[in-house]
């Protein structure tokens, strides 16, 4: 059975709010079924939109026949890009590139791309009518594979259209004749020379598959256009970005666009940037009524996915087993629209060479356009794909050199005070400690039960770091009412990670009040100030600092108010009395504001080097013990150990569930999840055909731990943890499988078929294709 251990006790002293584990503030709403989600929201007079989607991967739209759909009783309107352009003349959006149209214009670029929308008061009518739309396409050659796409044989887009938001993408403007949306390069030392001098050189290629966030609350947005402005209700992880981008599309000031976000039924990076928000904006403007578009589970497979990747990695070692050089070529399959892919390419590119001390590093990281559903951020921002490759590779080298894999890692690991591949000096990074704790928990030094002939047992470890995305900004307000009660306004979206509770703990800590007494306002861009987005495990650190600063300003103003009304220093007069003394009745407010943006130095365009790539490192190690049934290829996870450095846990219980949940999600991506595509068409777009982890997939034993740490520049010593436990799961299991039965898999998922095929190939009895 799963044992979820450690993080016992926390670090709180009596009276502390940070370091204890109060239940989530919204817990009662969630267990009574009364928590509000966009997918179940309704507005009076609302119409439902159902999307008609492309059936070809790449083609010119010859015609769209909507006549039969319009004749269905109850259909209010059928909308195509022609109608959209009447209200939004340039309807292209995206965080990195303005490449994605609200509805397809002239061409379609993947199977499942939205082409038209039927509006009706009854969603069943809209759905039925959408099936009567007929589109004719002139099919064009399509490209699906990321490595082939790099060779430019078939072009997905004729010209690159960078958004201009990110300074380091501006040079791509107007670039033609390529599918490479971004090429990030890092050059350190001289790899060619080092390879020539190396005692041995190892080169391997690893691949990852296309997988899905699959939040149980599918994407949903409601647009409500009024003469005075536009309100969008949306399941969004980034309301501030949505507001900015919708205002840009409309040519409006930001203050006419309001984004309201209730609780999210899961996000995992999928509900970032623009998903349905631009569409419901256009639809609501066209019909001047509220319009809701809520996707089905199937439609999520056509919206945003994780990046499939190909990683060619080459490493040189000297005769003592020291790594002297590493060359990484990473190809990211971004699909038909860039979404945040170019940032994944660059930001994960920083750490492609792993948590090792290597003098000569060469990294090429390419974001590719292809004719498949777009890829974006998914819990790790590219890092799990990289760690899968470099930590499998590390094990392969260790085995070839006949060095214990743990020992080989310790010999080469990057330690605090040493320069990382980017040039930044490593600080506050306890990945080696995490690896040590994994080894201790696995009793690595002791003899290991290797099982029987047909049930082979093995074990493996992995270690990783991630540079948190930078630079980003967060703003928070703390407002104290005349009765002394405290409200926090911050744009961090609680999608299940418990941020509302953690932020309230920080307010409580500064103001010396119970966490449970702090109200956290639901995200509403009319009242909650700017935040870059709830992504990349950045919020606890960045928003945490903003919240801390806002609370500190409020605390200082309380002291000033006390002085103002003649209270002696250190008086413990209730706040309500202070307000009453000042304003003569229960009246007035104290407003504290906090803004936080860490320092950052952009990488040198030629070398990719920077002394300040990130304000903090996320550090992880994992260990797995597996049993492989050599007669079937079935892999059973007997034990999974996850250890992270997240600084000081603000809420130990929530940290534990983040570690556990992240690692179990990655377990699905490791063992069985895979979107199957046939000529660009997803052929398993449902939960019946795409399996995610369930109750029976939990490892027999699971242990989670956060090492004792204090992030010196973090709020209350903390840093983010939402993604950390995803990093190492895949390679730890692959390494354990190799240890158990000698087969090395280089492509995810590690399912029974893949293991069995590899076992048969190893025995010189390979299976055929069918």
């Amino acid at each position: 059975m799963a044992t979820n251990t450690v993080l016992d006790g926390g670090t709180a002293r009596v009276g502390d709010q940070v370091g204890r584990s109060p239940p989530r503030l919204e817990a009662r709403e969630k267990v009574t079924g009364r928590a509000e989600y966009t997918h179940t929201m309704r507005l009076p007079g609302m119409l439902h939109g159902k999307i008609f989607r492309s059936t070809v991967a790449h083609g010119r739209i010859k015609s769209i026949d909507t006549s039969a759909a319009k004749e269905v009783p109850g259909v209010y309107r059928v909308v195509t890009s022609e109608d959209v352009r009447k209200v939004i003349p340039e309807p292209y959006y995206g965080p990195a590139f303005h490449d994605q149209p609200i509805l397809a214009i002239d061409k379609v670029h993947y199977v499942g791309e939205p082409v038209a929308v039927v509006l009706a008061a009854d969603p069943h009518v809209a759905e039925e009518a959408a099936q009567l739309i007929v589109a004719e396409y002139e099919e064009l050659p399509a490209i699906f594979d990321e490595v082939e796409a790099a060779e430019n044989a078939i072009l997905v887009h004729q010209e690159l259209k960078p958004a201009g938001t990110f300074a380091d993408l501006k040079h791509l403007k107007g670039r033609k004749g390529t599918n490479i949306a971004l090429d990030f390069k890092l050059r350190r030392g001289d790899v060619d020379k080092a390879f020539a001098a190396a005692a041995q050189v190892f080169e391997h290629t690893f691949r990852t598959q296309k997988v899905l966030h699959l939040a149980l609350e599918p994407f949903a947005s409601i647009g409500d256009w009024k003469e005075t402005g536009l309100t969008i209700y949306s399941a969004s992880q980034g309301p501030s970005f949505v507001r900015t981008e919708i205002a840009r599309l409309l040519g409006w000031p930001e203050n006419r666009v309001r984004i309201k976000v209730p609780y999210l039924g899961g996000g995992f990076g999928g509900k970032l940037y623009i998903k349905l928000e631009a569409l419901v904006t256009a639809l609501s403007m066209i019909v001047r009524r509220p319009v809701k578009v809520a996707l089905t589970m199937e439609e999520q497979f056509y919206t945003i996915t994780k990046h499939p990747s190909t990683f060619r990695i080459k490493t040189g070692v000297d005769k003592t087993g020291r790594i002297t050089a590493r060359k990484c070529e990473v190809f990211w399959n971004g699909g038909a629209y860039a979404d945040i892919g170019p940032r994944v390419t660059q930001k994960s590119g920083f750490t492609a060479s792993g948590p090792y001390d290597i003098d000569n590093v060469w990294i090429d990281s390419y974001a590719l356009y292809t004719n498949v559903p777009p890829a974006g951020a998914l819990r790790g921002f590219g890092i799990p794909q990289l760690v899968w490759a470099y930590e499998s590779h590390t094990d392969m080298i260790a085995r070839a050199l006949k060095i214990d894999p743990l020992e080989f890692r310790r010999k080469n690991i990057l330690r605090e005070g040493r320069p990382h591949a980017t040039g930044q000096i490593l600080e506050n990074a306890k990945h080696e400690r995490a690896l040590d704790r994994v080894a201790e928990r696995l009793d690595w030094a002791k003899p290991f039960d290797r099982g029987t002939d047909t049930l082979r047992r093995g074990r493996g470890v992995a270690v990783a770091i991630k540079a948190v995305i930078s630079p980003t900004t967060s703003v928070a307000n703390v407002i104290i009412a005349g009765d002394g009660s405290t409200t926090l306004f911050c744009g961090t979206v609680d999608m299940g990670q418990g941020s509302d509770t953690a932020m309230a703990q920080m307010v409580g800590q500064v103001l010396n009040i119970p966490t449970e007494s702090v109200k956290v306002v639901q995200r509403d861009t009319d009242v909650t100030p700017y935040d870059m987005g709830t992504l990349g495990s950045r919020s606890l650190f960045h928003m945490g600092h903003a919240v801390r600063l806002a609370a500190e300003e409020a605390r200082d103003k309380i002291k000033a108010l006390a002085r103002d009304v003649g209270e002696p220093e250190g008086s413990n007069i209730p706040l309500a009395e202070l307000f009453k003394k000042k304003y003569g009745m229960q009246a007035g407010n104290i407003v504290g504001t906090g803004i936080y943006k860490p320092d950052y130095v952009p990488p040198d365009p030629a070398t990719g080097l920077t002394p300040n790539a990130t304000p903090f490192w996320m550090c992880a190690a994992a260990g797995a013990e597996v049993e492989v049934d050599t007669e079937t290829g079935q892999v059973k996870i007997a034990r999974l150990v996850n250890v992270v450095d997240c600084g000081r846990p603000v809420n130990p219980k929530i940290v534990e569930t983040q570690i556990s949940g992240a690692s179990l999600m990655q377990l699905g991506f490791t063992l069985f999840e895979k979107m199957h595509l046939d000529a660009g068409q997803v052929t398993n777009a449902s939960l019946a055909d795409y399996k995610i982890p369930g109750m029976l997939d939990i490892p027999a034993v699971m242990e989670n731990e956060a090492v004792d740490a204090h992030q010196s520049n973090g709020p209350f010593g903390a840093k983010g943890v939402g993604e950390t436990a995803t990093f190492c799961v895949s390679p730890a299991i692959a390494n354990a499988i190799a240890d158990a039965c000698g087969v090395r898999l280089t492509e995810l998922p590690l399912n029974a078929e893949a293991v069995f095929r590899a076992l048969r190939a190893n025995a010189d009895k390979p299976l055929g294709d069918e």
Binding site: M1, A2, T3, N4, S21, P23, R24, E26, A27, R28, E29, K30, V31, T32, G33, R34, A35, E36, Y37, H39, T40, R42, H124, H213, L214, A215, L216, E217, P218, Y263, L264, G265, G266, G267, F268, T296, M297, E298, M495, G496, Q497, G498, K653, I654, E656, T657, S660, G661, L664, M665, S686, L687, A688, I692, P693, G694, M695, L696, I698, M702
Partner: protein
């Protein structure tokens, strides 16, 4: 096309105008503003839409509303009485057995039914019984703990 159905909803007699293709979840949401049962996968695979019909859990997204004519329907909203949560709801909070909360009503109804059938379940019974409910946040270890805690709480209530 429309017809009227009469049924008992969380102990109260109710009526609703429905069409033959309406499923139970949409009728609960649209006609009664009960939003705890939610459609997610639409295929009966995830359990987010779990509703009890005559005491047995069904997938509300696949269950035609017409079929509840004359039946007793129970939703997650009936479990708490006033401010007092049910032992299962309390246990889910104390064990931290959810993150985003979208699947939680389904898990809570299934756990309630589990404990009706097996007042003192072991790990295997819990995992088997709840294997039809999915949680993408993967709060599974905590949910197993919550089920055990709820069993203890229910025993304390009956013996006390």
């Amino acid at each position: 096309m429309t017809r009227t159905i009469n049924f008992t909803l969380n102990g109260e007699p109710v009526a609703a105008e429905i069409k033959p293709h309406h499923n139970l979840v949409e009728v609960l949401q649209r006609e009664f503003n009960l939003l705890g049962a939610r459609e997610s996968c639409g295929q009966g695979m995830c359990g987010c839409c779990t509703v009890l019909v005559n005491g047995t859990a069904v997938s509300g997204c696949l269950y035609l509303a017409a079929f509840v004519d004359g039946a007793e329907v129970t939703t997650v909203e009936s479990l708490a009485s006033g401010d007092t949560l049910s032992p299962v709801q309390e246990a889910f909070i104390e064990a931290g057995a959810f993150q985003c909360g979208y699947c939680t009503p389904g898990f809570i109804l299934m756990t309630t039914q589990l404990l009706d059938a097996h007042p003192d379940p072991d790990d295997d019974q819990i995992r088997h019984y709840l294997s039809g409910n999915l949680c993408r946040c993967a709060a599974y270890p905590e949910i197993v703990n919550a089920a055990k805690l709820a069993a203890r709480k229910r025993k304390a209530v009956t013996s006390g």
